[in-house]
């Protein structure tokens, strides 16, 4: 399918035939230039000086604007002579073809595959895979300059820029990655942490704790063995986990088992408009988030970085245990949140006392002078949706292997004291071959290609040896060498080869295409034996079945459809469903699942537009006006004729959002 799409993009290299050109310019003369010319220049646009041939991006955009206006039917203006529908269509088609072709010409690298730098996305995956570190929470490319994109895609070798700024970030990320992968210490013990309600503290106990843990107008120490969460805002809606806050987050990165004893109360309420930001009758959504409080400020709940890990829907009023195994990075700690509650406890007090002041449960409190007593009284008496939490437990880290595979890649079985001038070269060479996406070789059978890489490695080996000579600790000298390897051109640039590809280049092309990362040992071994081609189909299937293939789906869809654009023009805050129901992530999920479905079931490209099904959850279905979908998970929904149809990319929320300019006229 991708091939089909690519071939559409690469159609005829000619911009347009002479005949078409004449037709276009006759049309422009009559319908555009009349008003957009030197002395008139309506709307600050002039087309009399529009070049016949598109030579630059600027020309291209001027033509694009004309096509846009014609497509919209906004130009020529009503009071001017109108082209016939047929003329309009013909010229739109001709102009579009001309623009597409010019686009290709302006951006191609003359038919050669050039040395291509790993883009940020590929660098992140490659570093993660090479050193076996989790790059989901820690993004080594967080501060990298944004990549230059061509037609939305960020893997055009000719256009990717390398700069001093980027180099500085490479140094920092390589240093941090090596630090994260290094596990010379004893295997960390699995530990058990537990916190029963109450989750808020006051007096001496609360000293030095972030506000989240302190009592206030909207949170207090309950007399019950549980604590109720009331709204989405952190005050009264988020619970921290004190045992791990005290430790500064989890002491080691790894898998942790998080257990929560919780129940859903008051899912149906009769507070009417006072609680209109909760959809009456919905399950209550409990969210588990990983938060990093280092360097945070009070006003945003003392969170500097956050990732939502899990969400679960609760319907039962009786307490149940829920449990997840999640990855937590060193320094992160869990938080439990009421994801779909009313906006904020503070707002609830105001609305409950102004919209529903007659409710009997509020009578004892409604006239209280003391604001704190009044708010607490009202919220304690409130019978609406409450996410009830008894207890939180965390156990971990569970480590599959210690030291990790990444540590092994770096140091083999050596201990810090084992490094010396004898083995430094061998170790650096072994690490470099892995980093450089080469099969492991024994010295006797060094191929010319490999020799080239070893020559490029030599200055780095010399650097490490010299540093050690000057008194640097041998392990430190080795690590400095590894850092240099991760910043060297041979690691950062893909040499993808040209013409008849060598197997080793083919392996890299395949893996960067489908996995956004370096080839694994199986691919490299097949390539080394010259057997990759004969096993190509089998390998491609293996690669597509690997979880790593999700990276292709995720990244390609994101780039192709410009999905990063979502959220750039955020919906108005009045559109509460968008935020409460997590529509932003549901719509991204919909498009990814759809694309993956087409890929997995090998559908023709036309299905991208024509499909009469999509992947929805309850919230997205409600947003689309479709009844009867329960649950927060995305699942295949077929549209029957005559009903609402949201089939095909062009009808999907994500596509519509990403291509809009955020203005509701």
């Amino acid at each position: 399918m991708k091939l089909a799409i690519l071939s559409i993009c690469m159609a005829s290299a000619l911009q347009s035939s002479g005949q078409a050109k004449e037709a276009i310019h006759a049309f422009l003369d009559r319908h555009c230039i009349e008003c957009h010319r030197v002395s008139e220049s309506n709307g600050d646009r002039r087309f009399d000086n529009l070049p016949v041939r598109i030579e630059s991006t600027n020309d291209l955009e001027r033509y694009q604007e004309i096509v846009d206006q014609l497509n919209l039917g906004a130009m020529p203006p009503e009071d001017s002579p109108q082209p016939t529908v047929k003329q309009r269509r013909a010229v739109i088609a001709q102009l579009t073809e001309m623009i597409d072709n010019a686009y290709g010409e302006l951006n191609l690298s003359g038919g050669h595959a050039v040395l291509r730098r790993l883009n940020s996305w590929e660098y992140r995956q490659t570093l993660g895979d090479l050193l076996g570190i989790n790059v989901e929470l820690w993004d080594p490319t967080e501060k990298f300059p944004r990549e230059v994109t061509v037609g939305g895609l960020d893997n055009n070798g000719n256009s990717l820029v390398t700069s001093g700024t980027l180099m500085e970030h490479y140094f920092a990320s390589a240093e941090e990655a090596i630090h994260r992968a290094t596990q010379f210490q004893e295997k960390p013990q699995t530990r058990f942490y537990q916190q029963k309600s109450p989750f808020y503290f006051e007096g001496e106990e609360a000293k030095g704790l972030p506000k989240l843990f302190q009592t206030g107008r909207f949170r207090w120490i309950p007399k019950t063995p549980y604590t109720d969460l009331l709204g989405r805002h952190y005050r009264g809606g988020h619970l921290g986990f004190l045992p791990l806050f005290r430790e500064g987050g989890v002491p080691h990165s790894g898998i942790y088992r998080v257990r929560v004893k919780a129940a859903a109360l008051g899912r149906t309420h009769d507070y009417g408009k006072a609680i209109s930001d909760f959809r009456n009758g919905d399950p209550l959504v409990l969210e588990l988030a990983a938060v990093d409080r280092r360097g945070s400020v009070t006003s945003n709940g003392n969170v500097s970085k956050m990732k939502s890990l899990e969400r679960i829907e609760l319907t039962n009023e009786e307490p149940q245990w829920f449990q997840w195994d999640v990855h937590l990075d060193e320094g992160y700690e869990p938080e439990i949140r009421f994801r779909n509650g009313p906006i904020a406890a503070k707002r609830m007090v105001r609305l409950l006392t102004s919209v529903t002041p007659d409710k009997p449960e509020f009578q004892p409190f409604i006239d209280l002078e003391d604001k704190l007593q009044r708010a607490r009284g009202v919220l304690a008496a409130y019978q609406g949706p409450r996410l009830r939490i008894w207890e939180i437990q965390v156990e971990g880290p569970y480590l599959e292997q210690w030291p990790s595979q990444g540590h092994h890649t770096l140091y083999g079985d050596l201990q810090p004291s084992d490094f010396n001038d004898q083995n430094l070269r061998t170790q650096l060479t072994q690490f470099a071959l892995k980093a450089f996406r080469q099969p492991q070789v024994n010295a006797a059978s060094t191929k010319p290609g490999t020799q080239k890489l070893l020559d490029a490695l030599e200055p780095i080996v010399q650097l490490a040896l010299r540093k050690m000579d000057q008194g640097m600790d041998p392990l430190k000298a080795y690590q400095l060498g590894c850092q240099a390897i991760l910043c060297s051109p041979t690691f950062l640039y893909l040499d993808l080869g040209e013409g008849e590809l060598a197997d080793i280049s083919l392996a890299s092309r395949l893996s960067y295409f489908l996995w956004s990362s370096s080839p694994d040992a199986i691919l490299l071994e097949l390539a080394a034996k010259g057997k990759l081609r004969e096993n190509l189909s089998e390998q491609v299937h293996r690669m597509l079945e690997s979880p790593k293939a999700d990276r292709f789906v995720q990244h390609f869809v994101r780039r192709w459809l410009d999905l990063d654009h979502i959220g750039e023009m955020p919906p108005s805050e009045d559109f509460i469903q968008y935020y409460r129901d997590n529509l932003g992530s549901a719509m991204l999920g919909e498009t990814r699942r759809f694309f993956k479905h087409l890929l997995d079931t090998n559908q023709p490209p036309v299905e991208l537009i024509k499909a009469n099904y999509s992947f929805l959850n309850r919230e997205l279905a409600i947003h689309y006006g479709i009844d009867g979908i329960e649950g927060n998970h995305l699942r295949l929904v077929e549209f029957t004729d005559g009903e609402v149809t949201r089939g095909g990319l062009l009808c999907q929320c994500s596509f519509l959002n990403a291509s809009s300019n955020g203005v509701d006229n």
Binding site: V38, S39, D44, S56, T57, N58, E61, R62, E65, S109, H112, V114, L115, R117, P145, R146, V148, G157, S159, V161, T162, S163, G164, T165, M167, E168, F171, G295, V297, T298, S299, N300, D455, A456, L457, E458, P459, I460, Q462, L463, R466, K467, L480, Q483, A484, C487, S488, P489, T490, L492, Y493, D495, E568, M569, S572, N661, G662, V663, D664, N665
Partner: protein
């Protein structure tokens, strides 16, 4: 939204700093034979509504429009330019060309890529100051500043971070560790250069060009490293104000705070080039207004134009306060301020006839300067930037899309 209490808004809910009168700190710390020249560039993403920005009459006796009114006290120290732009199209996507004249998509075709005015100026400062430039903005800013390799420089968006950078010395142990790190980094850079050179000899011409970029980057890092080494042990200036706390602030407060910190940075000669950008995400709800982007699509609706007016006057009020502060510090005459937007009328997404004004710098200001409307006499905005650079002391005869220096007014 309800009635707008304009007075309350213009006064700001501010935490604006009261700057004590300063003895000439810069002169004391870094004696310079001749007052250094400084450049401040301020850009707003969503333009300025032309009807409220451009005066009618030309010359020094122009009548201040409602957007310019807050600048009343400085009217003799500014020039508003009509009919200048870069000839770019693309609405939001062309705003990033404000200080460059070149869109990032076209950058590859230019020797200096899409380098921005501030960075071109910063290059000519070199390591004379601790920071070649200080780039600030609200949240993500508006993609205003670009290096000569075509890389976007994101703004510092936390005033506390900027304060620490300007005034807080790191501990001696940290400095020692940093020195050692810089030293090792220099050795690593040497080895990488050698490695790349070895590799280069095995490559074809096209690949060599790509690798050239890598080698240039190495040199760039080396240059910066050299600069860091020069400054690492020199104490930072004393801050005349108390430390700016790391806390969440309203955007409208951040604007004033950044201006204050920029004034201090210039005054202490920590930098001679500074920028401030307000982007699409500027939260106008804090001024009791609707979402900025919605308002900017005024579609000639009076309600929205009135709201726009509040934001735009807020921005020019902050500029006026900044100018007063520089005057008080006695550096306004050495500081040239560029203020404007890469968009003119956000409602039609037009990038033509950009709102641009120059202020300060002891120029012989012209009030409202109407440049020629028609080709071929139209003047590219890049010409103005080129003259600004010459004023600043950057000797060059080209910038962006310039066709020459700016002829309509004497600058420098």
């Amino acid at each position: 939204m309800g009635h707008i209490n304009r007075r309350r808004i213009l006064q700001g809910t501010g935490i604006a700093l009261t700057l004590p009168r300063l003895e000439s700190l810069s002169a004391k710390n870094h004696p310079t034979p001749q007052a250094p020249r400084r450049l401040v560039c301020v850009g707003n993403h969503l333009g300025f509504y032309p009807g409220h920005f451009f005066p009618e009459a030309s010359g020094k006796n122009f009548e201040l429009t409602s957007t310019l009114k807050p600048l009343q006290a400085h009217r003799n120290e500014l020039t508003v330019f009509s009919n200048l732009d870069h000839g770019l199209n693309g609405g939001h996507k062309a705003v990033q060309g404000f200080l460059t004249g070149i869109k990032k998509e076209e950058a590859a075709g230019f020797a200096e890529k899409n380098i921005s005015l501030d960075q071109a100026a910063a290059e000519s400062v070199g390591s004379s100051t601790r920071f070649p430039s200080i780039n600030t903005g609200i949240t993500e800013g508006t993609d205003m500043c670009w290096t000569r390799s075509g890389v976007h420089l994101p703004p510092i968006n936390n005033p506390a971070t900027l304060f620490r950078g300007l005034f807080i010395d790191s501990a001696p142990s940290e400095r020692a560790a940093e020195r050692e790190r810089l030293q090792h980094r220099a050795s690593v850079l040497d080895s990488l250069r050698e490695s790349a050179t070895t590799l280069n000899s095995t490559l074809g011409a096209a690949d060599q060009r790509k690798l050239d970029q890598y080698l240039t980057s190495i040199r760039d890092v080396e240059r910066r490293l050299q600069m860091s080494r020069q400054w690492i042990d020199r104490p930072k200036p004393q801050s005349p104000i108390k430390e700016v706390a790391d806390e969440e602030r309203q955007h409208i407060d951040q604007v004033g705070l950044f201006y204050d910190l920029i004034a201090l940075a210039l005054h202490t000669d920590s930098t001679r080039v500074a920028t401030l950008e307000t982007g699409l995400g500027f939260q106008t709800a804090e001024l009791n207004l609707d979402i900025y982007h919605h308002i900017s699509h005024q579609g000639k609706s009076e309600g929205r134009i009135e709201q726009l007016q509040v934001i735009e006057a807020f921005l020019t009020t902050k500029l006026a306060n900044f100018m007063s502060k520089l005057k008080e510090m006695e550096i306004l005459n050495d500081t040239l301020i560029v203020f404007g937007s890469g968009m003119s009328d956000a409602s039609s997404h037009s990038n033509r006839n950009l709102p641009v004004l120059l202020a300060g710098g002891a120029l012989s200001h012209q009030g409202h300067l109407i440049c020629p409307v028609e080709q071929p006499r139209r003047i590219p905005l890049s010409n103005l930037w080129l003259s600004v650079l010459n004023w600043f002391g950057s000797e060059r005869d080209r910038f962006g899309r310039s066709t020459g220096t700016f002829s309509a007014m004497k600058i420098g």
